[in-house]
């Protein structure tokens, strides 16, 4: 948190000269060295840093891939294969980039669920949360367009299905769809504009990330207790404490990422995308990338008309509504207590919600037939009920557990408890301390 003016003066003469003209050294010092972070942050708080290295990695690999890629329907597929076969380390760049997108989403989902669990969206962090939601939305657009670029069967048919959603919107739907496609069907103009936008959007993401981090540095980080920082003893300096912990979190994350890149590079993709796009041949099942599957399940769960809204529009509305819910979370949750640690009922429903999201993801990968449809409808119902019923109602009727008075008190309580349990508690259970 920035408390008044910085008192930092660079140590070297050159640093002071620079700082007097443009206080960049001061900004870096205040943001990444002296910045106070709550001392009780666990490893769930390392995902912000992980996400930023994933963004940088995607941009770097992406720029090099763009040097070899050709966004022409006749050449795109072969240009990707040229990268895989002939470009030096091209296979590595391309697998890093395609799996990087997946792991970017793994990290963002953990980051979002962490926010939901610890109530990180509550005042004064509503804007911080909404900026995060905007980043997520931009990521989805980027990921979707990126999947179209290799011009495989799933690229083509995924693009056809997803842009088809927009035609369900009354009055302007067809116009929006044609604008997206640059014509009446997915074709060369579509591929070209998707490539241009796929190159542009990551820089927009980077811009919103700057705002996200700026807002974070104004309101400060939340923490597992959800209690605001009250005194200096509640915090530690960003460097070395948070830096070293973030570094360890990143390395563990990169380990899992590397495991997929080098040993299972096509596990998260679809075999059909290794067949060049063919507008005359529809694949048996059109499935989007795994990170869209829960929303795809919600889209297909609406098989009935509601009054004037037909099932297609209803599905599209529910799908976009499912994402819109996230934007409203700061005002849907009525509880005065932030963290689920002190909210036994919310904690239970939170985990049910996680299970529900995973179930929806699995249903999204299955054909929409038979009992899957009913299951998807029930799971969709719970998805919306979690936001629209559980969140507002629980806050009013739930009795939270006793809150500690401060972060320091919570930390010391835990330490004493740990010391009572096992004499060397401080070192014997590092994983529980985070």
């Amino acid at each position: 948190m920035s408390e008044g003016h910085s008192t930092y003066t660079p140590k070297t003469g050159l640093g002071r000269w620079f700082d007097a003209r443009m206080p960049l050294p001061r900004l870096v010092y205040d943001s990444f060295i002296a910045y106070p972070v709550p001392r009780n942050l666990n490893y769930m708080w390392t995902f912000g840093g992980i996400l930023s290295i994933m963004l940088v990695s995607q941009i770097l690999t992406g720029i090099v891939l763009a040097m070899h890629y050709t966004s022409d329907t006749a050449l795109a597929f072969d240009s990707v294969e040229k990268i895989m076969r002939d470009v030096n380390s091209g296979w590595l760049l391309r697998y890093l980039h395609s799996n990087g997108a997946s792991f970017f989403f793994v990290a963002v989902y953990i980051h979002i669920f962490r926010g939901l669990f610890y109530g990180s969206y509550k005042a004064p962090r509503e804007l911080l949360w909404i900026l995060g939601c905007i980043i997520y939305l931009l990521m989805m657009a980027t990921g979707f367009m990126g999947y179209v670029l290799p011009w495989g069967q799933m690229s083509f048919w995924g693009a056809t299905v997803i842009t088809g959603f927009f035609s369900a919107i009354p009055l302007v739907g067809n116009w929006i769809q044609e604008l997206l496609l640059g014509g009446f069907a997915v074709d060369n103009p579509t591929l070209n504009r998707f490539f241009a936008l796929h190159y542009l959007l990551p820089f927009m993401i980077a811009g919103v990330v700057v705002l996200h981090v700026w807002a974070l540095h104004v309101v400060g980080q939340s923490n597992p207790t959800g209690i605001e920082v009250k005194s200096k003893t509640d915090t530690v300096a960003f460097t070395p404490y948070a830096t070293i912990k973030d570094a360890f979190g990143m390395i563990v994350f990169l380990f899992f990422f590397a495991y997929f890149v080098f040993y299972l590079p096509n596990y998260l993709g679809h075999p059909d995308n290794y067949t060049v796009a063919n507008p005359l041949k529809t694949p048996a099942h059109i499935v989007p990338e795994w990170y869209f599957l829960p929303f795809y399940a919600i889209l297909r769960a609406i098989t009935f008309n509601i009054g004037p809204i037909n099932s297609k529009l209803g599905g599209v509305l529910c799908m976009f509504g499912a994402i819109a819910m996230l934007f409203l979370v700061p005002w849907l949750d009525t509880s005065k207590v932030r963290s689920a640690v002190y909210r036994p009922w919310y904690k239970l429903f939170f985990w049910l919600f996680v299970a529900d999201a995973i179930l929806l993801g699995w249903l999204g990968s299955q054909p929409a037939e038979g009992s899957y449809v009913f299951m998807a409808q029930m799971a969709t119902l719970f998805y919306f009920a979690f936001f629209l019923v559980v969140m507002p109602v629980l806050g009013l009727i739930e009795t939270p557990r006793r809150l500690p008075n401060s972060i320091t008190e919570a930390v010391l309580e835990k330490k004493n408890k740990g010391a009572g349990g096992h004499p060397a508690g401080a070192v014997s259970a590092p994983e529980t301390k985070g």
Binding site: W91, Y259, Y267, Y274, T275, G370
Partner: protein, 285 residues
């Protein structure tokens, strides 16, 4: 609150129940609704696992099968002769091999198209001049290009196997499928099953009861000079392995690099973890 939970639990049971019923839906052998009818057989491949490498002798045999059988109908556009170094051939051998092919090239200075012997930089030529010709010669559908076939085919693994696959590093769905398909002919379809005319029953085929391609391999069809058995099963294994190489020529390099990267991350991670412990030792958190 308890009521809500009971209701939720009941709902869960209902959902699980319907799912179970759906799974047990009557199974009509003569009119199957899900393909393939039989799952691919999981074979043991030299290139599986974290230290997998291609068996070069097997790849060379697979290339022979491709050259003498598959290439009559299937192109392999993305593979250049020069990359056959990966099969253990020398530069001179590749030159000779490429020269066996005739490449349609041009125009020359006089503006004429001409035929010339292949060079290492050429790709495998297609058996048909264009896709339309390939389709019309093969009953309406062009035989798929084989460059990426081993990555472009795969049968869905289903829950919970797709979870186990992460730990076993199962990434051989393509070659398993190709091998099963090639060895899956010659079976009698169940009584009452309608096999469309001009197609051939194969219970391993991914998208129907039968496919247009007739049984391509028979025992003794390709002569091996290294003493390997000249059986359909062996041909199928060899050509599947070869197609995996064609689809993923950098597999060995990938796995080798991966091992180094993971070992580095493990050691680096351990050091950073110890540093983290030291930094935080004095601070309760």
């Amino acid at each position: 609150m308890k009521k809500i939970l009971t209701a939720l639990a009941l709902l869960g049971l209902v959902v699980a129940g319907t799912a179970a019923i759906a799974a047990e839906e009557e199974h009509n052998a003569a009119a199957p609704t899900h393909f393939p009818i039989n799952e691919p057989k999981e074979m043991s491949w030299s290139f599986a696992g974290p230290f997998g490498t291609y068996d070069k002798a097997q790849l060379q045999r697979g290339l022979k099968v491709y050259k003498e059988v598959c290439s009559a109908c299937h192109s392999m556009n993305l593979v250049a002769f020069r990359t056959l170094e990966g099969l253990g051939y020398s530069e001179a051998q590749i030159k000779t091999l490429a020269a066996e092919y005739t490449i349609h090239d041009g125009p020359n200075d006089a503006g004429d198209m001409f035929d010339r012997p292949g060079k290492p930089s050429d790709h495998f030529p297609s058996p048909f001049p264009n896709e339309q010709a390939a389709a019309s010669a093969n009953g309406g559908a062009a035989p798929p290009d084989m460059s990426l076939l081993a990555k472009a085919r795969g049968v869905e693994r289903g829950f919970p196997r797709f979870i186990f696959d992460i730990f076993t590093q199962y990434a051989q769905g393509g070659p398993d499928y190709i091998h099963s398909l090639l060895t899956g002919y010659d079976q009698t379809p169940p009584a009452g099953m309608v096999i469309p005319e001009g197609t051939h029953y194969n219970p391993y085929f991914l998208s129907g009861v039968s496919l247009k391609m007739p049984k391509p391999l028979s025992d003794g069809q390709v002569t091996y000079d290294d003493g390997s058995p000249q059986t359909v099963d062996q041909y199928s294994r060899d050509v599947s392995a070869f197609l995996m190489w064609a689809a993923e020529p950098h597999l060995e390099e990938r796995k080798k690099t991966g091992f180094r990267v993971l070992v580095f991350l493990l050691l680096f991670g351990a050091l950073v973890y110890l540093t983290k412990r030291k930094v935080w030792a004095e601070v309760a958190h």
